[in-house]
């Protein structure tokens, strides 16, 4: 079939494209140009990022067409700006979810359909399983590479059209070996790290540059408003973190953690860790922008939830609410960060998820 492969220029998506071509499919490679590699100082400037060229070389070597899609302004608006907005609301966003949801699985997928493709493949580590009641999303075989948490917002309609060949790979070494076998120059290319559009300095520096009003120091206070210390900018903090609190731990005699970020007053609110994590009132979490990969059960579903990218499952009951929201009743108290995702799992299967509200 005619299949569009979203190629980043890295080893994973290159292997996907080459494998599909080898299987006899009509492959069309597409690389999204998401930002100007010469820096935000030169909007719209011409560029030829190394990754784009790597993808192009793979396409030429294997023998299929490859195109560069200008997604700069869409990426800026739908991912980078909303990333900064989210921090400016005191949240901790997950830009990769926004990118998969919008630029990749909406825009690029529509383009694939417009070009007469029957499917679109990516190099994500997640499995698409044809279940008895329709297509399902599962964790990949290689659990170390599991990207299902970042893909929870994929709709069932999108999932129907998508293919994730790497979900079945035993491990990354296997993928690299395949790349080697296929003669791809990217076989030894290092994995991409962190947030792709933060190319120099920290994400906080970028956010403070984009939203100067939230930059600068402020007070760290306890739940009663007593000032315990100073912080270096609210964008540097996430609900649940204990780092970057200076000598407050020793000052108060207890290990503290961030419980809330108050944007108008630019205050970081902390509480004693032991007390906070056992606080029974912290068992209810509200979610927005729910994406259900099962028919949303009116009475709710009891399953495991994952509240951060790298974290274990917690047991909970999730009940759908009006306005595409949901309420999570956790069995044990937790301190999820607003803006992060709450993803529901039943065994290997992703049932859906939503974004955590403050």
């Amino acid at each position: 079939m005619r299949i569009l492969v979203a190629m980043s220029g890295g080893v994973d998506s290159s292997v996907v494209a080459a494998l599909l071509k080898q299987q006899g499919h009509e492959v069309i490679g597409a690389t999204l140009q998401l930002y100007d590699h010469s820096g935000p100082a030169k909007p719209g400037a011409c560029c030829a990022g190394r990754d784009i060229m790597d993808a192009r070389l793979v396409a030429e070597k294997i023998g299929f067409p490859h195109y560069v899609i200008d997604a700069e302004s869409r990426f800026r608006d739908s991912v980078i700006e909303s990333f900064a907005d989210s921090y400016a609301r005191g949240e901790t966003p997950v830009p990769c979810v926004a990118c998969n949801q919008g630029v990749k699985f909406t825009d690029l997928l529509t383009m694939a359909r417009d070009l007469g493709c029957e499917a679109m493949a990516t190099g994500h580590y997640v499995r698409r399983v044809e279940g008895p009641t329709g297509v399902e999303m599962h964790r990949p075989v290689d659990r170390d590479r599991d990207q299902s948490w970042f893909l929870f917002a994929t709709t069932r309609e999108q999932l129907e059209f998508l293919r994730f060949p790497l979900g079945e790979m035993p491990d990354k070494a296997h993928v690299r070996a395949l790349a080697e076998e296929l003669g791809l120059d990217v076989a030894t290319k290092r994995d991409s790290q962190d947030i792709c559009f933060v190319t120099n300095g920290s994400y906080a520096t970028l956010v403070e540059k984009m939203r100067p009003e939230i930059g600068g120091p402020g007070d760290i206070v306890d739940e009663h408003g007593n000032v315990l210390g100073q912080h270096e900018g609210i964008a540097r903090y996430t609900v649940g973190q204990s780092r970057r609190l200076g000598d407050i731990h020793t000052g108060t005699g207890e290990r503290q953690m961030v419980t809330a970020i108050d944007v108008p007053s630019r205050r970081i609110i902390v509480g004693p860790r032991q007390k906070v994590i056992h606080d029974e009132s912290r068992r209810i979490v509200q979610l927005r922008d729910m994406n259900w990969l099962i028919d949303a059960p009116a009475d709710g579903v009891r399953c495991g939830v994952q509240l951060r990218a790298r974290e274990g499952l917690r047991q909970a009951l999730i009940r759908p609410l009006e306005g595409n929201r949901a309420e999570v009743q956790l069995e044990e108290p937790a301190l999820p960060a607003p803006g992060q995702a709450c993803v529901m799992y039943e065994g290997e299967r992703v049932l859906g998820g939503g974004f955590i509200l403050a």
């Binding site: 560029c47 030829a48 195109y67 899609i69 070009l115 007469g116």
Partner: protein, 393 residues
């Protein structure tokens, strides 16, 4: 003579304005140049022979435009020729620079602070606006005016005689980017006529070999007369001190051969095919840019309302048709066309593709493309992308 078809490995090549297929006669000249031992600057026998070949090509090229050989400066291509003109006639002597709104980046990037003269909806320079600007600089030593003879995206010819007259009246130097027009002179087109009438006698002209059917990597700046020009590359003082560096002998020989042959070509043959193709595109829902004004005989700028140019290029490329859009940057991404923006196309500036017929195109190629284009437009219409009957002039 034998015409190589513009297809290769099941590709159909309709992107002549990006680069023309190499003319066999240019390839022959190229081979002769490559076979010649010696640097044209050397004093020994081999060098002198090489020099003679270079000078014969120079004389032939300059003669085509009715100029003396020593007014002809070989460069590495059109961009260098344009940059050298902007530098030598503009920056280096502090002249104010006026450029057309639809100029190629070779000019736009060479003169970033230039005053931009608007074009009308057909892409024609607004001569009244040009005159206003020229008048405001009249007290100074005169301006440098850079205008392209024919636009690379739409093929639209500039009103060259009017512009030249204004430049003479206000003492401005006129530089013509003739990269697209020079290799497609039919004798009756506005560029040929402006050359023949002597209207451009005081103007400098930029040329590029591969847009005529020669090889890439060669071009020239034709000066009004043999005169000094501050060089961009002083180097060893070649080209009478106006462009240092060893000239690409073989490439320049190919340029001379290509230009001569291009002037013997029956361009009306392409124009008929072009008109047929435009009718097909229009029937499929496209709007042709600049359709009512004089244009290059080989160029179609077809705007398909509602469909991103990128999508059109991809859909056609998958079927094996090589066409282009706007200005492709080095990464291959398709940018919006500043040319169509200047012509007031707004959103449409990202929805037009350029089909430019190569010198050796055959009728069946054009018809095959017409069918592919219609199929594509039909598919996009079925997908709900195509906006119908947009009103444009």
């Amino acid at each position: 003579m034998l015409h190589a078809p513009p297809s290769q490995h099941n590709l159909l090549y309709l992107d002549a304005n990006a680069t023309e297929p190499l003319r066999p006669i240019a390839q022959q000249a190229l081979n002769e140049g490559l076979a010649q031992l010696g640097n044209p600057a050397s004093v020994h026998t081999a060098g002198r022979k090489a020099r003679v070949m270079l000078e014969q090509a120079r004389k032939q090229l300059a003669g085509t435009f009715g100029r003396e050989a020593d007014s002809f400066v070989f460069t590495s291509g059109g961009t260098e020729a344009n940059t050298l003109a902007v530098h030598g006639f503009g920056h280096a002597i502090g002249r104010p620079i006026l450029i057309g709104a639809t100029e190629h980046d070779a000019i736009r990037k060479a003169a970033p602070g230039a005053c931009v003269i608007p074009v009308d909806q057909n892409g024609l320079i607004e001569c009244a606006a040009l005159e206003t600007q020229l008048a405001s600089h009249a007290a100074e030593a005169g301006a440098l005016v850079c205008i392209m003879a024919a636009n690379n995206e739409t093929g639209v010819y500039a009103p060259l005689e009017d512009i030249a007259a204004l430049c003479r009246q206000y003492g401005a130097h006129l530089h013509i980017d003739a990269v697209q027009a020079a290799g497609r002179m039919s004798g009756t087109d506005p560029f040929s006529q402006a050359v023949a009438s002597g209207a451009l006698v005081g103007a400098s002209l930029a040329l590029s070999a591969h847009k005529m059917g020669g090889v890439m990597g060669a071009g020239a700046l034709l000066l009004p007369e043999d005169r000094p020009l501050p060089p961009l590359l002083p180097g060893g003082g070649q080209e009478r001190g106006r462009r240092g560096g060893t000239p690409a002998l073989a490439a320049h020989l190919s340029m001379a051969a290509a230009l001569v042959e291009s002037q013997q070509q029956e361009w009306s043959r392409l124009q008929i095919l072009r008109d047929e193709l435009e009718a097909i595109c229009c029937h499929a829902g496209a709007v042709i840019m600049g359709r009512d004004v004089p244009r290059l005989p080989n160029t179609v700028s077809a705007l398909l309302p509602g469909v991103a140019a990128q999508m059109q290029l991809m859909a056609l490329d998958i079927e094996g048709y090589c066409v282009s859009a706007g200005s492709a940057c080095s990464s291959g991404k398709v940018a919006r066309s500043h040319v169509l923006e200047a012509m007031g196309q707004g959103e449409g500036a990202g929805q037009a593709i350029r089909i430019s017929l190569p010198w050796n195109v055959q009728a069946e190629h054009v018809r095959a493309f017409g069918q592919a284009y219609s199929r594509m437009a039909q598919r996009f219409a079925e997908r709900g992308l195509l906006q119908n009957n947009r009103t444009t002039s």
